[in-house]
Symmetry: C2
Subunit: 413 residues, 2 copies
């Protein structure tokens, strides 16, 4: 990982990628709401989609086109404001129409163009407004368009989520960019939001697809905000450029993981009503899958999330949540840390400095969140050892605040 | 069901059952905290226990003694205030000691006595205080002790949960009584709280055990308050009396189901911070298990629960939650009702009277809850049709309020 360093540019940092984000008028708020990502010729794209049985027509369209073309697609249009889910035949017709209009303008085959939608379920896209926005969107398309694109995919998110990394792999600069949006209906079940990744190294489609599957499992599938899986979740990852020699694939994958995990953590940190990021690290499980299952269950526990919000070192809730993860472990082997504070050993509570443990969580406050890196400084870290096995796993979530309830009780359908 | 009618007496309404509840001094609040249920000689008991990997010593003890004696146990002691979970060897020693002291005073074999504990995890029972309470507890033992016993098992619950029903089965009066406590860490995974049932009809142990397994699945396993499964959950059901002829077993089971479902609904209604009961009925699934899975997932969705709290007829969240239940159905076949208001047909939203649908939920307010039947009048009913299959299922939960967060953020470990 030490070879990868941050650079500017977000999703358009890799060579050859262009993006744009504009206000087309789809959102009543007047915020940017139409976004485009265009990959260079020869790009290969791998996708990961929501496992929700109720999924939007645009998700079906993306999955089918990626399969039909073996990943050879070039562009993704994203509209925010209307999820276009549960909109029946009209939802599909609108998705087809939007991609056909864009493909024509780009000189691409319609099957090379994907569409993602995010916003309120059951509301169709005002399709004439979207189509009227395509020319201005193309006029704004630029190799510096990453930030604008990242801004135009947001809905209730508070901050733009983007990142770019660069490394020297065998004497050649390789760049990876990413952008994502959250922040409600976030739970592990394949991709759990909208996420996009770009990379200016070329890889065989099947290698890229396998890499992306592994990425998702250790990043976007390891976050939960509220346990609800969205109807529209997509993660789309593009690779386009000179072929990268296989000896550098592991190094590339480390960079891809860093980008994906950054975006995943940023989504969890920007969870509705959240005041901190929660990171749960599980060690000593029978295997990695078991460790991840425990980590995700702890991260998703309402009682744990409330305790974190109250800055209460309530170890009993943490270990009780671990116990219901459906994974075998011996209580006698459990040890638990909150930051540097050890709370349990051999399955039993230790005497610990309760005010200091609470202060550790209080120090992870929301004060600087909106003006700084969305992830640094406000992470409450839980480490749970459940035995002597080789399994390790990480999950990320956030606290559960009365603000979350107010946002979601007062939200107008 | 029409043959069963309510009677007074709760858990001690069935002939031969005695109970008591006193303040032994285990709780700092001075509220009742020690409870005893004594079944008549010849009783058979069936139990259902938490599936949490982290479970209290008393749960292990109950399960082992029931198995060892083929259900031939007579008494259950319940202490509230300390869960005695994650207390290591001491937890087991204290459970053994408490049951041994009680068995001696009752003239029973120690294996005929069970113990349930509820309260804060990681806190051991002040065992000398408990043992000093046994003589006063036995002095209070009475065939009218049902209400006192039901009161002494509570922790954060707001109301006593008990019921008794009576019917004439073949010219003979049969009575069923029940009591339960909630109200946090409530989620389907075998018994999900403390629940007790008594019945003055005799049944073969294996018939009784099978009946109780079916009961739990349609009652205590169909409720969720916060998705967290407790470390201490037990449901214990005693049958003791003249043998009941097999032709009446189905009628008896209907009465048992009514008692169990009443207690389960009462637990959900008394969920922390709840302002209404949420009932989700699913029809048309491939089988009952699929229908129950969908019903439970909708009931457990934080976003649905927040919408109910905000009295917002947000059908999109309901159908999105149904979609992630892990059960196949076709969106095109989905129809949805909120009370009498139909919100969806053929997988798409209908135009409906939104203010009236919201008012339907507002009318289910908390105003009369504490002074009346915990279940009547404040039930928000959701009905979801997912196809034309034979599967039907019910689940109960409650809304998610900012009060829930405050209760669980400010709770001092």
């Amino acid at each position: 990982m030490s070879d990868w360093h941050p650079i500017a540019g977000g999703i358009t940092a890799p060579a050859g990628f262009q993006a744009a984000g504009i206000t087309a008028g789809l959102k009543a708020s007047g915020n940017p709401d139409l976004s485009l990502l265009l990959a260079p010729a020869g790009a290969v794209c791998a996708g990961s989609f929501t496992l929700n049985r109720v999924r939007a027509a645009c998700v079906d369209l993306c999955a089918e086109r990626l399969a039909a073309r073996g990943g050879q697609v070039r562009a993704v249009l994203t509209n925010s404001g209307q999820a276009n889910a549960c909109t029946g035949e009209r939802g599909l017709i609108d998705s087809l129409k939007a991609t056909a209009e864009l493909a024509q303008r780009l000189g691409l085959d319609v099957e090379e163009v994907l569409i993602c939608s995010t916003g309120v379920i059951g509301v169709p896209i005002p399709i004439e407004i979207l189509i009227a926005g395509l020319d201005p969107l193309l006029a704004a398309l630029a190799s510096e368009g990453g930030e604008a694109a990242a801004r135009a995919i947001l809905t209730t998110d508070l901050v733009v989520k983007q990142i770019a990394l660069e490394a020297d792999l065998g004497g050649r600069k390789v760049r990876i960019g990413g952008m994502a949006k959250g922040s409600g209906m976030i739970h592990p079940d394949m991709a759990t939001m909208l996420g996009y990744l770009s990379c200016d190294a070329g890889l065989p489609a099947e290698v890229w697809q396998a890499m992306v599957r592994r990425l998702v499992d250790c990043s976007f599938n390891a976050i939960t905000v509220d346990g609800d899986t969205s109807t529209n979740d997509c993660f789309l990852a593009f690779a386009a450029g000179e072929p990268l020699s296989p000896e550098h694939w592991p190094a590339l994958e480390a960079g891809l993981a860093a980008v994906s995990q950054h975006l995943a953590r940023a989504i969890a940190r920007d969870g509705e009503g959240a005041t901190c990021l929660l990171e749960v690290r599980v060690e000593g499980a029978v295997d990695d899958a078991a460790a991840r299952a425990i980590a995700r269950t702890v991260c998703g526990s309402s009682l744990v999330k409330c305790a974190i919000h109250g800055r209460d070192p309530n170890w009993g809730r943490i270990v009780a949540a671990a116990g219901r993860a459906g994974v075998p472990f011996a209580l006698e082997a459990v040890a638990l840390w909150l930051g540097e504070h050890q709370l349990m050993a051999a399955g039993q509570p230790l005497a610990f400095d309760r005010p200091a443990a609470s202060q550790y969580m209080k120090d992870r406050a929301a004060g600087t969140y909106l003006s700084a890196d969305p992830v640094s400084g406000d992470t409450v870290a839980i480490r749970l050892q459940v035995g002597a096995g080789p399994g390790r796993g990480l999950a990320w979530g956030c606290d559960l605040s009365d603000q979350y309830v107010r946002i979601n009780a007062d939200y107008t359908t």
